[in-house]
Amino acid sequence: MITGILLISVLTALLALLLEIAYKYIANYGEVQVTINNEKTFEVTGGSPLLSTLMQQAIFLPSACGGKGTCGYCKVKIHEGGGPVMPTETPYLSTEELAQDVRLSCQVKVKTAMQITIPDELFNVREYRIKVDHIEQLTPLIKGLHLNILQPEEGISFVPGQYVQLQVPPYKLSSTPEFRAYSIASSINEPKYIDLIIARMEGGIVSGYIHDLLKEGEELIARGPFGDFHLLTSERDILFIATGSGLAPFIAMLYQIENENIQRKTTLIFGTKRPENLYYSDLLSGFMKRLPDFTFIPVLSRVEEQDSWTGEQGRVTDLINRYIPDNNAVDVHICGLPIMVQSCLDILATRGVPLEQIVYDKFE
């Protein structure tokens, strides 16, 4: 009996040894260089998938399936050293992506020196511990959060127009922590603080938590910054179009225009339903005084007599034509719900505004 057990243990130990030796000589690719966005180079040990190798270098690529090759989130451009595309990757890569050497980083093994490009923002994606400093009820459906970044010390560095993923703990509506994206509505000169504008979504888990349960002093987790929405740099005029909570990125951009004292003529059209849905009015009128040439035009779609509203009426799409000069010399930035963004894009297309002069951020 004992001899049998001993023998089997020796046998399995031998198999383990065989595997170890094999790993040492066969699967050992030694030290391999991985260069990212031809700026940073890392010295890594080869043999494991790119996704986990990057994670060891604290570069977190989005992945939902934990490297099983079934979610397709961990896409990365591999220009060199990627090897042929695997059958497990093809279901997730479209033809254009294949043309730009996009690959699934959880399927590609790091074997030789690699040249890869990942979205810049993923470089300095960090996890922040934040404390709720102040909650303000901006409108019946929108709350403004003033958040203080506890960790890391140096706060957050971001490009105006980017967003963070705010994570709320599990509660009755969701058994697991959930996170949603919210654009940052504060100045980059104040790295220790960020302002977020949270509109209550019907049945929304995160917005539900923030509107019903979140208290001042509570601590949350945020990840970011993400997104490539930014202020277009040129000499042309600037046109901002926003609805609902879509004002947030433009507030950050207005701070940018103030800090870098950009002299371009700027117009902000903000569409909503009722006068009580307007918010940040004093902040915006402050900007109108301080900035050289900035006009804020609210437009309301559901005005009644007793509101005695003197401003514009209708939808943002009705006003666009009036603020696009004949020579189309204007950079247009749109932010809001997908249907609004799409209708603006159609109008701009009919006006023949060139595509590179239009940027937008769709709030899913």
């Binding site: 198999l15 383990a16 979610c71 599990p170 697991t176 922590p177």
Partner: protein, 205 residues
């Protein structure tokens, strides 16, 4: 990264939402063969519940010590040891069933669920949630296969747990005893459930 909700959630999600058979169609190999008799399925599922719960606890208890390279072999060793223990217990206390089950008890080892849960959950979570996860999955699994075995035995042998319930005039559906019957039954069962609760099981596009 392991999102471990409250323990009760882990247990119940395996039963329905994350039901291994309906959601991922996993682990049906070794047990489909014995679903022609309810008593065999019961014993088989009991064996699986024991193996899955114990393997999950052990794998997760040792998760910080097992070197990554021989992870697969260690998990296989643990699972197969528990399966042998189940086999010995069945042979000792349920001799006639052990003859009926034949090699299929041994095949719990490669049951994709056991390996799946160890690899996906137990490897990254503390023992108690892992055990609950294993238990929930195994119960969800047994639920589906018991239903199938009840239908197969009634139609195939005209009996349940050996007690004939169908009248003698009932013409036995011998197809239900054989392999195709099991495939059809499981296929139809999954079809009904997915048609009835589409949102639960929509394949991620």
């Amino acid at each position: 990264m392991p999102i471990a909700g409250s323990n009760k959630q882990i247990l119940t999600k395996g039963l329905w939402i994350e039901n291994p058979v309906l959601r991922h169609v996993l682990g049906i190999c070794s047990t489909l063969a014995v679903t022609n008799l309810v008593i065999n399925t019961l014993v088989m599922c009991a064996g699986l519940i024991f193996t899955l719960a114990m393997s999950c606890i052990t794998v997760s208890a040792m998760r910080n010590y097992t070197p990554d390279r021989i992870r697969m072999m260690v998990q296989m060793l643990i699972i197969s040891s528990y399966v042998i223990i189940v086999d010995i217990l069945i042979k000792a206390y349920l001799p006639e069933i052990s003859v009926a089950l034949g090699p299929y008890v041994g095949l719990i080892i490669t049951n994709c669920i056991v390996m799946g849960r160890c690899e996906a959950f137990a490897r990254q979570n503390p023992p108690i949630p892992s055990m609950l996860d294993g238990l929930g999955t195994a119960l969800g699994y047994s639920l589906v296969l018991l239903i199938i075995s009840v239908v197969r035995e009634t139609l195939g042998f005209g009996s349940i747990m050996g007690f004939t319930i169908m009248p003698d005039s009932f013409e036995r559906w011998t197809i239900m005893i054989m392999a195709p019957g099991a495939f059809f039954m499981l296929g139809i069962f999954i079809w009904i459930v997915r048609a009835r609760y589409p949102h639960l099981y929509e394949e991620k596009s």
